[in-house]
């Protein structure tokens, strides 16, 4: 969906056609959920936070400044909603061993990929939520540093440094996890 197409949808919603909002939800739900889950590390809460963010965005659609990308504006709402859920959540600790991992059976190499995914999830769970989110947005390959800065409310330079630090930390965590894993074998 192109940016003008998104703007047309927004115009239709504002003109009193709320049902077309489903198209925007469908397009952005996976990234919105990914961002919320990276912050909350809990699928159920992430789902609720992402849904809340979509509803907030719907109610504030008239204030969306069309000079920015709709996705950047929306993901900033998702980021802030998830952060506020995190602050309010009584669920302060989730064992990283309980991290939900989706199994996708797709033939050859699945086990290796699933393992890598598990280790990556474990290592990422040890980063703080801002680093984890910045890193994820960077590797989702869709956002520039400036857009990540806008979503997370940080300076672009800070985002760059955070991503660098997060990669170093991730490398150290992975080294540690893989060493532990080798020792238990």
């Amino acid at each position: 969906m192109t940016i003008p197409a998104e703007h047309t949808i927004i115009d239709r919603i504002l003109a009193g056609e709320p049902s077309v909002y489903a198209e925007l939800v469908n397009k952005h739900k996976s990234y919105a959920f990914t961002i919320a889950n990276k912050i909350l590390q809990n699928r159920a809460e992430a789902e609720e936070a992402a849904q809340d963010a979509f509803i907030k965005a719907y109610h504030h659609l008239s204030s969306f400044n069309r000079e920015a990308k709709f996705s950047t504006w929306l993901y900033r709402i998702v980021f802030n909603t998830a952060i506020s859920y995190k602050r309010k959540s009584r669920h302060t600790f989730q064992s990283i061993e309980n991290t939900v991992l989706e199994y996708s059976p797709d033939g050859e190499g699945t086990l290796e990929r699933t393992d890598k995914r598990k280790y990556l999830a474990l290592a990422m769970a040890r980063l703080n939520e801002a680093d984890r989110t910045a890193l994820t947005l960077f590797y989702l390959d869709e956002f520039s540093l400036e857009e990540i800065a806008e979503i997370t409310g940080m300076q672009a330079n800070t985002v760059k440094v955070r991503i660098h630090r997060a990669r170093l930390r991730l490398a150290d965590e992975l080294k540690l996890i893989l060493k532990q894993e080798a020792l238990t074998l």
Binding site: P18, S19, Y21, A22, V25, N26, K29, S30, Y31, A32, F33, T34, N37, A46, E47, E48, A50, Q51, D52, F54, I55, K56, Y58, H59, S62, T81, S84, Y85, K88, E102, R113, K116, R117, L120, L135, T136, Y139, L140, H164, R167, L168, L170, A171, L174, K175
Partner: protein, 176 residues
């Protein structure tokens, strides 16, 4: 073992991201061939890079995500504001009950006999004060009345934040 400097690490990232200038790239490659620690660090970072770029980071929400959002569009979010106003109402009721009880006790004369005076001359050593200070009389009734007044102020604040403001906001959104 040589310690890798922050500048070297920054250079490794720029090298991995392909944003390093040609001259710097050549200088780094020469350094990599001579510095085993730096090369090992690059290998680790390359490994992370490979994992992050190969493993899909995008996660899918539940199948009926869109359905849930569309079903809740009429409700103004969020659970947090509901919680805040519900807690606020409880707080308001609590304050009003406390104020009511205190007023009842004051009007029945429970605090009429509670009188005390604070004599500062006894509390402070003579060498620090030149003149003797007058004693301060305190009546229980006065103190409870001040507490009631403060509570009424607090109740008004809670009423504004927890009931009136959300109510007007909801009306505003309903009007759009």
């Amino acid at each position: 073992m040589k310690k890798i400097s922050q500048a070297q690490e920054e250079m490794l990232f720029d090298y991995l991201d392909g944003t390093l200038h040609a001259a710097d790239k050549q200088r780094l490659e020469t350094e990599l061939s001579q510095n085993r620690e730096l090369k090992a660090r690059l290998d680790e970072l390359q490994n992370v890079e490979l994992w992050l770029s190969k493993i899909p980071l995008e996660e899918m929400p539940s199948r009926n995500f869109t359905l849930h959002v569309m079903g809740k569009l009429d409700q103004y979010p969020s659970r947090s504001s509901t919680l805040i106003s519900r807690n606020g109402i409880f707080l308001l009721v609590g304050i009003l009950v406390a104020v009511g009880l205190a007023t009842l006790l004051v009007s029945s004369g429970v605090f009429d006999g509670v009188q005390t005076t604070i004599n500062l001359n006894q509390e402070l050593p003579q060498k620090y004060i030149q003149k003797s200070l007058p004693p301060i009389a305190l009546s229980g009734k006065l103190i409870v009345n001040i507490v009631i007044l403060l509570n009424l102020g607090l109740a008004w604040l809670v009423l504004d934040r927890a009931v009136l403001k959300p109510l007007f906001q909801r009306r505003m959104h309903a009007g759009h």
